[in-house]
Amino acid sequence: MKLVAATLYALRIPFVESFSHSTRERRWSDSVVVRVRDDAGAEGFGEGSPRPYVTGETVESMLDHLARELWPRVAHREMPPADDLEAVDLWLPETHIAGALAPHASRAAFEMAVLDCALRRAGRPLGALMPPRRQCVTYSGVVTAGPVARAVQHARQMRTIGLRHIKLKVGFEDDVARVTLVREALGPEASLRLDANGAWTFERAVEVLTAVAHLGIAAVEQPFPRGPVEGLARLRQAVPVPIMVDESLVTRTDAEALLAAGAADFFNVRVSKCGGIARSRALASAALAAGVGVQVGSQVGETAILSAAGRHLAAALPAVEFVEGSFGTLLLAEDVSLESVRFGYRGEAPILTGPGLGIRVVEERLRRRAVTVLELTAEG
């Protein structure tokens, strides 16, 4: 079987309410969705979320890269078998985007689409390649940045829907008060972790974390910007709060350096950021083998496609501490699949058992929500 056509959709799906962290405010999903079709007519969908400050990709560079680099090198090539995740990863060529750290969102979108296509053709679910180890996945809530009163309101809402794991965006002057009030709103039972999105200096991280440690903080994510791992290792020794890496963990080289330096208690593995399902699983496995915990993270504004991929990954790992994503229409004005992937009460969501990624994407919604649609054929 060979790929004969692909379609790229640059989405613009408005959010129900804006989502912000210390450096960005988002009001809509800007994911890029890839649809591939093989010569037997089977289709598959994949998604990547380009983030200039994470992988160095933008929507424009991702579209260009997919259309000019990746697609010409896979069109009309014999597809890999549908029963081997690593074979799909090896089948995809290694590519680069000038000035970017890694074209991981592009690669993830393509890998997912090819996998989905091959599995759908075979009538098999992704779970056949990555057998689930649990029947349901439990998601965390994320309390966005913004005024403290809004953060507290969000925390109350999350408590009302029974979420047991909450992440709070920090990186502001009022961090200590913010964490204190949100903890109060959540009650003592919920696990609370913080995400600074690289907004702190070493000194500020020590100051805030020392002040809030008694509130029971399960982890702090990316306290300061991506940089030498020694800073993280030093912070890990200086504060009584476990350290999770996110922007510092993009490539396998990053993972090796972080593990060698003992710089993290948790890896935040995200499918789009880490270059696809196979590479994300490999990073998570390396972490677990080294005694480092794993969070399966998500992209703000991801659609059901990336959420489904994350769900499969989270279900298949031998151990997963926290899982994020699957907000569906809690965040998006409209999602793109027939099935809802949104989690329910207590953040719980069932594993997906349908063919491929386990969701049926409604192409009409992609077209309606896209600001750019590029049709690619094997002829170029």
Binding site: R12, I13, P14, V16, E17, R27, W28, Q153, R156, Q157, T160, I161, G162, L330, A333, E334, E339, S340, R342, F343, G344, Y345, R346, E348, A349, P350, R368, R369, V371
Partner: protein, 240 residues
């Protein structure tokens, strides 16, 4: 206790008022009312209104099943009215919407809209529940219904005028709107009372109830239902 409930009622009412203000102040609504929207936008609006309310009887029947004793008679009355069985309006409200479609020359879209309305309902049923019990689910559903009654009692006359003036629809086609502008003043008042009765009967704390109401209204429910496709277009305009 009474003070607490008065506060809850007025807080909810002010949330409704804010939603109505933001809905009628939106560029999309203004364009419809001023006649600057394109013909396709009027058609899309008519279709969205139809899709949003075609299955209202089913939703009211669900709420009737959950109604506390103090609100049961009101909700039963609303349900009978929706079904055209109250002896006054005579026609089931979904039929008024079908008539609106036909008069607007959109009769050929009815099948699709019926299917979409069915799918909307199916989705509500199969989607994982966000709340721990029917008590909270019912409050969220009741909040949305009462919010629409509140909005329609204040705005549906304006919508009817806009559709008559700028889309050329006759008064007979706009009966769904004119009917709601008259009866929903009463319904909206009753609705707020019923919300209070619901909260009291099912022993929800005020802050707990308010959190559910706020979650239900965290996006503009009117914009979401009536301008569902306009939202994407509006966002796209600002992108490049």
């Amino acid at each position: 206790m009474d003070n607490g409930h008065r506060t809850l009622r007025s807080t909810i009412e002010s949330l409704f008022a804010r939603q109505v203000e933001s809905f009628t102040g939106s560029a999309d609504f203004q364009a419809l009312e001023r006649g600057s929207a394109g013909p396709g936008q009027y058609d899309a609006f008519i279709e969205s209104v139809t899709r949003a309310h075609l299955r209202s009887p089913q939703l009211l029947a669900f709420l009737y099943a959950l109604a506390p004793p103090a609100a049961a008679a009101d909700i039963q009355g609303n349900l009978l009215e929706e079904l055209g069985l109250d002896g006054d309006s005579g026609q089931p409200h979904p039929d008024l919407l079908r008539g609106l479609l036909a008069a607007a020359g959109l009769g050929c879209r009815q099948g699709l809209l019926e299917a979409q309305a069915d799918e909307d309902l199916r989705r509500v049923v199969v989607e994982p529940l966000l709340y721990g019990s029917l008590r909270e689910v019912g409050l969220a559903a009741l909040t949305e219904i009462v919010a629409f009654e509140y909005m329609l009692s204040r705005v549906s006359g304006r919508i009817a005028r806009a559709l008559a003036e700028h889309r050329g629809l006759p008064a007979s086609a706009l009966e769904w709107f004119t009917h709601h502008s008259e009866v929903d003043i009463l319904h909206a008042e009753q609705g707020l009372t019923n919300l209070e009765a619901y909260v009291r009967y099912y022993e929800l704390a005020d802050d707990e109830a308010l959190t559910i109401v706020e979650m239900t209204l965290r996006e503009n429910v009117f914009t979401r239902r009536y301008f569902r496709d306009f939202v994407a277009a509006g966002a796209a305009n600002g992108w490049r």
